[in-house]
Structures are given as C-alpha cells and as structure tokens.
Amino acid sequence: MTALSEKGTAVARRRRWKSMDAQEARLAWLLISPTTLIVFGLVLFPAFFSIWISFHDVNLGNLNDVFHAPFIGWDNYRAVFNDFAFKWQGLDNWGAAITSIVYTLAATILTLIMGLAASLVLNRPFRGRGIARAIFLFPYVAPIVSVAFVWRWLLDPRPSGVLNDILMRLSIIDLPKAYLSTRGIAIILVIIFEAWRYFPFAMLMILARLQAVDRTMYEAAKVDGANTWQQFWNVTLPELRYVMGAIFLLRLMWTFNKFDDIFLLTGGGFGTNVLPVLTYQFSFKQFNFGRGAATAMILLVILVIFMAFYVGIVMRNIDEE
C-alpha cells in the first residue's frame, strides 16, 4: 500500500476503496446506521440536551421555542434543593432524595435475597420443576400496570380488601386500614412489591451460575465432612459472589431510575416520593421542565457517583480476593 501511494494517491485510494476490509467496513456502517441514528437521536442527544434544559427556564409557554429559552444558571438546581418535597425534613418526612436511596438499597437487597432463595429451591431436582420455574417468572413478565393494580386491590382500604380481611379475621386489627396511604407502611410495601416483581431476574442469573458450579467441589467438601449449610456457605456463596455483585449493580441502577412502580402504587404520596416521581411532578404537573430536568440530573449524578464507588471499590475487592 505504501509503495502504491507514492506512485499515485488516486490508484491507492481506489485500491483501498475496493479492498475487502474497506468494503466490509462500509457495509458495517450501512448496517448499523439506522440503529445508531435512533439511539443517538432519541437517547444520547436528548440526554445531553437535558443538561442544557436544566440550566434554562423551560415551561409550557416556550416549549415550542425551546432553543430560545432564557438561561438562568443554577436557579433550577437551587429551587430543587430548597423544595420541601426534595430535602430531608426529619424522620417523619425524608424527602425524595433520601427516600430514593433507602428505597433502592432496601428493594435491591430484598430482591437479591428472594432471588437467591428461589434459585436454591429451583436448583434441587423435583417433579414439576419446569412448571415451577415458569410460574416463578410470572411477576417479572406480567405488565406492570396489571400487577400494580392487583396489589392495590389486595391492599384495598375497604373491608373487602384481602389483607384487611385476613388481618381482621386473625383479630390483628379491628378496623380496616389504608396500607398504601399510611406513612411508614407504604414505603415498606413498595419495597416488598419491588422485590416480588423483580426477584425472577436475580433468580435466572443466579440459577445459570449455580448450574455451572463444579460438582466435584461439593464432593470434596462432603469428603471433608461439611454439612449442607457449610457447603452452601463455603462453596456455593463464594461461587455466586461475582454474579450477585453484577445483579446488585444492575437492579440498583434500574430501581433507582424506576418511575412506574411507585407512581402506580402510591402516586408518590405518603412517604414514597422518589426522584423519578418528583421529576414527573415538576415537569408534567407544574410544567416546569427546567426544574424537572434539574431533578433528573441530580438523580443521574447520585447514580453515577454510587456506581463509580461500587465498581471501583466493591467489585475490585471481589476480583482481588
């Protein structure tokens, strides 16, 4: 190629144009361009545009002329930080930032525990295991709107709500309660709902890892006299550490970003207001898009800081051990 390009660049260029590699690269770009256009145009560009919006005063009035919205510096961020729905106001009113973090951590950990338990159950051979596995996936596959409203209907404040009925029959409570509109109980219920809905994801990944564990390790442990519990603690868990770390990270990220679940269950009321719901309220209830974008950016920054910390410290420790 170099010798040719000295003779005449035109020839070389044509050669390169026709060469197999270049042809393949052109084809590759052609094949991948529609995907790239959609992903860049509808995800990456909007993501950067969101930063821009968070520094401008964008509301319903100038939405159609958004590029000329007035620049207002950090005002949106200041407004969010001072908003009573955002900031910590004491133990009975956490504010969306703290609620988000507590809710996400608790729901992710509970999801992992339930996923681990479910995968250990399904890892034992028993009759009907295939059907059981399919049933275990139901909560994850069913539409969020359906399952959220079934839960609301089960937790209905009227005496015809199933939970009320059961607790009243057991004489635990005397009068029906409105569980999802009681501070304290509501946040616990959304955490349980989250674990109920998403444990199958953890279960599938853990199950795949469990089936790849070398059988001879258990035999060796048995020879050494380890009981089932010791086998689980010393053989199974260390093998699962990496996959559990990965699930934790993924679920944490998705739970932190999740809007639908809490919005459908409680509408963000009664101590369950999280940052995605707050973003929605600023943007589409108050039509203050700038403030909404600022809230979303704060959410993203918290997430990125945590992920950097997690990947940098926790995952590295796992690798080193």
């Binding site: 209905d156 970003n257 997430l303």
Partner: protein, 301 residues
Amino acid sequence: MQNDTKNMNFLDHLARRMDWQKFLFAITLTFFLTSILFPFYWMVASSFKTRAEIGGREPVYVPGSLRLDAYQELLDPNNPAYQDFGVNILNTIKVSLPTAVIAVILAVFGSYAIARLKFRGKNFMVNAILVVYLFPGILLIIPLFSMLARIGDSIGFDVQDNLGVLIFTYLAQTLPVALYMLTNYFRTIPTEIEQAALIDGCSRLEVIWRITLPLAVPALVSVAIYTLMIAWNEFLYAFVFLNSHDLFTMPIKINTIWNDPSPRPNVVMAASTIMTVPIMVLFLALEKYLAEGLSAGGVKG
C-alpha cells in the same frame, strides 16, 4: 430411635419422616408459589365478579358464578358504562407490533455488523449504545418531548396523540437490548459456514439472508417477543405522549378506569386480565427461549 413408637405423636412421626432440609424446601416453595399465584388468581377471579360482590363487607374468595358484567362494561356498546376498550386493545397492538418488527429488522443488521464485520469505532459504538441502560426514562422524556415538539412544529406533526412518535421512542428503548441479545447469539454461530458461502461467491447480504438468519430463528423469535412485551407493557411514555382517549393504549386506559371517581376494581381487573393473558400465553409457549434472553438482556426497569 427404635424404642416405643407407640408413644410418638404426630409431630414426632413427621420429624422422623422429613429432615429440616426438605421442610425448608417445602416451606420456601409453597411461599413462593402462593405469593405469586394468589395475586394472579385474584386478578382473574375479581374480573368475573359483579359490582355487589366487589363492594361487599368482605371479599368474595370464589366468585359465585362467572359474571361477565365487567367485560360487558369494557367491550359491549350497549352497556350504559361502555368503555370502548376494544379501541385501546387495537392501539396497543398498533404500537407494539411495529415496534417488535422494526426492532428485530434493525437489530439483525446492527448486530450482524458488530458480531462479524470489522470497522473502526466499533467498540465506541457498542459502548455508546449500551450506555442507554444508564439513563432513566424519566430523564429522557423531558428533552424528547420538547425536542420532538420543536421538530414537529417545523415539519408538521403532533408530538402528542401520535402513535408513530410513540413507536420511535419505544425503538430507542428496545433496540439496545435487541442488539445485545442478537450479537451474543450471532457470536455463537460458527463462522466457517459463512466463510464457505462467501468463497462460493455469495455477497454479505445473501449470507445474512440465506445462512445466518435461518440459523438464528430462535433468537429472532425471542427478541421479537421480548420487544413486543416491552412495548405492550410500557406506561410512562404512553402516559405523557397520549392525551386523547381514542388513542390510549391499554395501560393508560386501565390507569384511567382505576382513578375514576366511582371505583370499579372488577372492571380494572377485567381489563388487566385482557392485557395480561396474551402476554402470559406467549411467554409460556416460548419460555424456553425467553428465559435465556431475559437474563441476558434484562428488562430495562
């Protein structure tokens, strides 16, 4: 252990029969099965109840008979509280089918390029596409809304009440997962067959059409069902982008019925049943393929 079996009570017999492991296993399995199946049973059972059964002093655990009141309210034009749910079913199909078909076609091209062809900037592109996972839907919806409102204003389409716009946003949400799943699958197909076909004089596109695609049918099906499910279930974007009741997809309509001043959980449960059953049937029919995809790609959210 052998001494006087006569004095053993029921629990002792039980304790001798099963060890704690089996016991724990049975308890856990029962716990999972009931906590999963009861809500689904409750959804279907409630949908066959009358308004009187729903609003009674205590829940009716087994409906007296299969009353179709709730379904009639949803689908029967002669019912006084007719909801015209048929339109919503149709809208959901109109949005989710094109999303699935287009996503699969675009993902086939894109992931073939990533799995098989060499080109500069590949790694950057793959990472950029996967970064999509990081962005919350709620963060993107504000810029998307204002951006599309601006573009729509100059080209002449409405952002709101436009199913086409909705399809585009769903593509952006599903393409990265589809791309990821298909790329992984293509990598498992041995390249030798393709090389042979190339040497025989087939072009790359012919190779994709005649060799790679037929081999990848299971993966194509699972990606299609998977994207269909995401679009079918999607709530946030449809909620923000749709205003007119005639264009509501099923999730938005169900939310509207639930929030109606006169609560009718039986109608909500009937609508939920209509929305859930096709998805569950599809899932059960193709569970073998889907389970792999579910763990490989993960539902965003």
